[in-house]
Amino acid sequence: MKKIGRGIGLSFYGTGYGNGFPDVSKARVRLLEGGKVGIYVGGTEVGQGAKTVLTQIGAETLKMPVEDIVFVHEDTVHMPDAGTAAASRQTYNTGNAIRVACENFRNKLKELAREHLALNSIYGLKVENGKIYLDFFPQKSLSFEELFEKSSKGDIEAEGEFVAQTVMMEEETGQGAPYWPYTFNACGVELEVDTLTGLVEIRKAVFAQDVGRAINPHLVEGQMDGGFAMALGYVLFEDLNLKEGKINNNKFSKYLIPTAMDTLEIEKIIVEDPESTAPYGAKGIGEPTMIPVGPAILNAIYDAIGVRITELPVTPERLVKAIQEHEKEKGEVK
């Protein structure tokens, strides 16, 4: 028989290393030829979109187009360390470091503009669209390009650092504040269980993430699609088949992951409740997208057939076994 069930899963997940561990990101910003601005951070782009989002944070802080930002993150000779691209921490931690570095850079530009424009102080100076100008007398203005030409080429730079605030848990009581901030997530699925074959087909899915602020909504949706598909594999397919320490499913013909045909168009909801300690309110979004999918699927299976699954993955064979045990138990109760 084919039976339909619905389930939800909720989760919250801390950004960063946590538990009082030193979590530091550093960034460097430098004025470049033609009035462009270079941002240098040792934060790795692994397809998650860090390079895009971190560029956007820099451009926003310096109030200039992203096209005029030169973002360099691949060469450790040129940049300070921004920690690992892990723990869903690059947007929040390195984003904060870039914002601080850009603010320091802006102040430095104002100081230099004050000297070159022969002003008394930096008050009233604005930095916007590649120039520094006096807000109430805009004729007093200096472009980034002019400033670069007046400087000794490439020595105008500033740095920024962000150290995340977390508290170690007390070993005895387990109390404390091991993470900050948290990303909140909810997932709902409707699925069909074939009680003969044990195949589970997801029919519909809705997925919501409180990301604080979606700096790039397309990328957030990409993370949600990716996290959902990865979780689908983890919950329904991926089985190492470990026997006495030996991995039996040691190739992709045996270790199955979902194909595009096994995934589906999911309804994605982005919730924006800005986090006050975050760059423009944005929190980590990488790992959290995987977490509520498992419980949502398992709850929906329970809703469909009344069987609680406690071991992953729910392969067809394993599900059929659980159904048969359940049928047996029910028979004995009668």
Binding site: L196, T197, L199, F237, S253, T259, D262, T315, P316, V320
Partner: protein, 286 residues
């Protein structure tokens, strides 16, 4: 290892004879290349047949259809000769692997490789297909059924040149269903093909059933066929046929760890084949 890109069947059989069993025919290579990498086979020469047109054609010979052994699954999917009553063969071809594998893999390779999970074989067994083999000694024909059930060997100097079968007649409909653990790129856990005809009196006039992955090779399920032939077609009879099939599996696969699962799942696959075929027949006759 040497590689030859053959331009004709004659060239292929000459090379096969020349290498005396140490030459391997390669078409799509979707299985063979993996075996070579895993050192399961170590041929001295590879003879590529993938650009020999006479091995790739799907021909209408009146009451017969002949499929060149090097026709790819994509060729089968795209052939208009396999619409209508032969739809089950097209469906099996369409559910092989992924587009990339269907573009490379061939029907001859599916047979020659001998996998119990070969998707195209159960429909071909239902059609009582004949394999046409060529060597420098000449041409011979063996039935696909004997190839599997009587353990006929394709000679080391032989090549499968084509697969031939009689077209289904009247209201006969060929159907296919498989169970894979995901929707693409899944090796069949089990598959069923059926050739079914229900007479005007609602009795089962023709029934041939072949299975994949329910034995050491694809095979005909004679006991189920014997049970069904001549019976009134209804749900109860089909349910009873499922029990007969499960019994046959019990005898054949006793002690296998996968048996309990396959015995349960086979009901879905068998019914999908039977009822899917009848649904298709409605479309064909519409």
């Amino acid at each position: 290892m040497e590689a030859y890109k053959a331009k004709s069947i004659d060239e292929v059989i000459r090379l096969l004879s020349q290498f005396e069993g140490k030459g391997k025919v390669i078409a799509g290579g979707t299985d063979l290349i993996i075996d070579i990498r895993n050192k399961k086979v170590k041929p001295e020469a590879l003879i590529d047949i993938s650009s020999i047109d006479e091995l790739k054609t799907i021909e209408d010979l009146g009451s017969f259809i002949r499929i060149g052994a090097a026709a790819t699954f994509t060729d089968l999917v795209e052939s208009s000769l396999l619409d209508e009553n032969l739809y089950g063969l097209k469906k099996a071809a369409r559910e092989v692997g992924s587009p990339q594998i269907r573009n490379r893999g061939t029907i001859g390779g599916n047979i020659a490789n001998g996998s119990p999970a070969a998707d195209s074989v159960p429909p071909l067994l239902c059609l009582d297909s004949t394999l046409i083999l060529r060597s420098i000694k000449g041409e011979r024909e063996i039935s696909l059924r004997d190839y599997y059930e009587k353990g006929f060997k394709i000679g080391e100097d032989e090549i499968i040149s084509a697969i031939q079968f009689k077209k289904p007649e009247g209201r006969q409909i060929l159907s296919f269903a498989k169970l894979g653990l995901r929707k693409a790129l899944a090796i069949s856990r089990l598959s069923i093909a059926t050739l079914l005809e229900i007479g005007g009196d609602n009795r089962i006039k023709t029934i041939r059933i072949a299975s994949g992955s329910l034995g050491r090779h694809p095979l005909r399920e004679y006991k189920v066929e014997e049970f069904l032939i001549g019976k009134d077609f209804n749900e109860e009879v089909i349910n009873e046929a499922v029990l007969v099939l499960k019994e046959a599996m019990e005898e054949r696969l006793k002690g296998r760890a996968t048996l309990p699962y396959k015995q349960r799942a086979v009901e879905r696959v068998f019914k999908d084949a039977i009822y899917g075929g009848l649904e298709r027949l409605k479309v064909v006759e519409a």
